[in-house]
Symmetry: C2
């Protein structure tokens, strides 16, 4: 899929989209997971109290929040301000996102009877605010907008555990104890994610990220058997739209190859696996990452050195610079400003140099 | 270090100790991290309320708790009922272990001035109750007793963060921002761990496990630079006693080789890395693990199949069967009884078969 090294650079497409496709770029693109959020004073100023789910239902507010980091940092992509439980909430599963806790489910998924609570998503009717936000942003932004959804395993883990878990014991007990029910559950959640992503792309999103945030809790055998087919359904389905598909979970060092096999164009990598090592595991796909977000709380020279090391390990082609997980709320935005400047100044792609000769 | 495949089996040493040394055994030994604890009704019956640190100061109680899983399960090793923050608490750093939370530090480590709060440990004077417990157990047990300590990084993370952390942001900021201070801190904590382990071995412990529970939060580069030297000081120091050294942290797939390099005889592996893959990373050392503790909450046939798969992947030589992390409190002890029986029945070591031919 990657063009020959001497292919001309398509200057009509963004650096971000070209890097996602493994094409030569003049400089490495950069954005940050959770770039819109509590680390920004301008976010705290407009966000107010209450559940994120309420804020997401206000398209003007969500568009403003989405644009804030683009305007402050000059990142190369925006990511929709939303949450991975939005589709499940929208079809009435009974989900709230409690500040300081995370998603909480009033009546967790426990048996086949609960499958009936997972009706198909009709995006225009169920999540019109998401699509209104996307449409606003496509008008307003001059960088690509990344839509997103939660992958079936991670959303299932919330629905089953009822709240954030450290062990995923109920989820694992269900997948192993009743594989047929598990398969129906993640298939329904795949349909939910796919419908949401398709609608976001139809409304104008230029790329998508499928977050399987907690898949790293699984062994490779469990991932392959119980998770990959459902994630592949989402990624293959969205592949028909032609937009780049990023796939990410934290702590997935052992799963990087499988995340790629599921149908990703770009595999997100946390900070535990150096990017050159990660690249060898993802079979020629592009990689995204992987500065340790905790390091952004260290002194600036440390952040600069770590940023340069990520650029070096990334190798300059098929690399979207990002953190290895979301921006920590206590991060000083000035640090991320410096990271963006440094990536833009020094992240001259090897591919572009190759193309110039 | 491993003997030739046709070496005779030393029937005077325990299966557990022989497996730790990579020697042929007649059957795979098994014990469980956190085998003594809340999952056992007999533990809940004797434990009472309050901090674990109080229970640890009662040698009769601690010895009883340590023996409970040996008596119930017939595991091949006991592990001292204690906590990794015991030495830091004993020298007066101001540590408590709050039920449902974990270690909490009244005044976290923040600057060079706090180094003065880390005086050397005098085990007989500071932790006589630990040594009394060990001495009681050595009289009472007919299986080896594993002593243990917290590795410098993990203990440092508690002292710096002040309570359990998900990001280790302050810890990483300190190690990167003031490497000289960090080096002094982990060196002091290495001395603390080493003094404690030496005293446990002198009192009769037959093996030790060094828990670097949270080292998996680090990149390999950070681990090698900031953690490995201090852990190596502990493991090399205890190596002089001749007892097997087990070294474990959760989520350490990328670090398994480095955990071995630090001086482990046995590298503990969580469930994310299949044991045959892990073995290739640890350079001929023995491995310990790695049944997913969450799977012990699944139906029994699932647990049995997963146990057999761990045995198969373990390969029969240099394998100590264990969970991939601690027993979950909600685990049914009957499940672990079945796992032990199955390992004892079916964990016939390939090495022993080889030795028998």
């Amino acid at each position: 899929m990657a063009p020959a090294p001497d292919a001309p650079i398509d200057r009509t497409a963004s650096h971000f989209l070209r890097a996602c496709r493994g094409e030569p770029v003049e400089r490495i693109p950069v954005w940050f997971m959770r770039q819109a959020g509590r680390s920004l004073p301008e976010y705290r100023a407009v966000r107010g109290e209450g559940s994120i789910l309420q804020a997401i239902k206000d398209p003007e507010l969500s568009a403003t929040i989405t644009r804030q980091p683009v305007e402050r940092y000059g990142v190369d992509a925006a990511i929709l301000y939303s949450d991975i439980v939005v589709p499940a909430e929208a079809i009435g599963f009974g989900v709230d996102v409690v500040p300081g806790v995370g998603p909480v489910i009033a009546e967790p998924f426990a048996s086949a009877a609960d499958l009936g609570r997972l009706r198909p998503l009709d995006p225009e009717a169920d999540t019109p605010y998401v699509l209104d936000t996307v449409r606003l942003l496509v008008e307003q932004l001059d960088v690509p907008l990344i839509g997103f959804a939660g992958a079936p395993f991670t959303v299932a883990s919330y629905l089953i555990e009822g709240r954030p878990s450290r062990t995923y014991a109920k989820t694992k007990a269900l997948m192993h104890g009743d594989p047929a029910l598990w398969a129906k559950l993640v298939d329904a959640l795949a349909d939910l994610a796919l419908a949401s992503l398709r609608s976001q792309v139809a409304a104008g999103a230029s790329a998508v990220q499928l977050f399987d945030s907690w898949a790293g809790a699984l062994s490779p055998d469990d991932y392959r058997r119980f998770v990959l087919p459902a994630s592949a359904k989402v990624l293959e389905g969205i592949g028909e739209t032609g937009v780049p598909r990023i796939h990410f979970g934290v702590g997935t060092g052992e799963l990087l190859g499988l995340l790629g096999e599921a149908g990703a164009d770009v595999v997100g990598v946390d900070w535990r696996v150096p990017l050159d090592v990660a690249r060898a595991r993802v079979g020629g796909r592009a990689v995204q990452g992987n500065l340790d977000p905790a390091l952004c709380l260290a002194p600036l020279p440390v952040v600069e050195a770590a940023t340069r090391e990520v650029l070096r390990r990334g190798g300059g082609v098929g690399h979207v610079f990002n953190l290895g997980h979301g921006v920590l709320p206590e991060t000083d935005p000035a640090v991320l400003e410096r990271v963006v400047a440094l990536v833009h100044d020094e992240g001259v792609a090897l591919g572009a140099e190759g193309a110039a000769t």
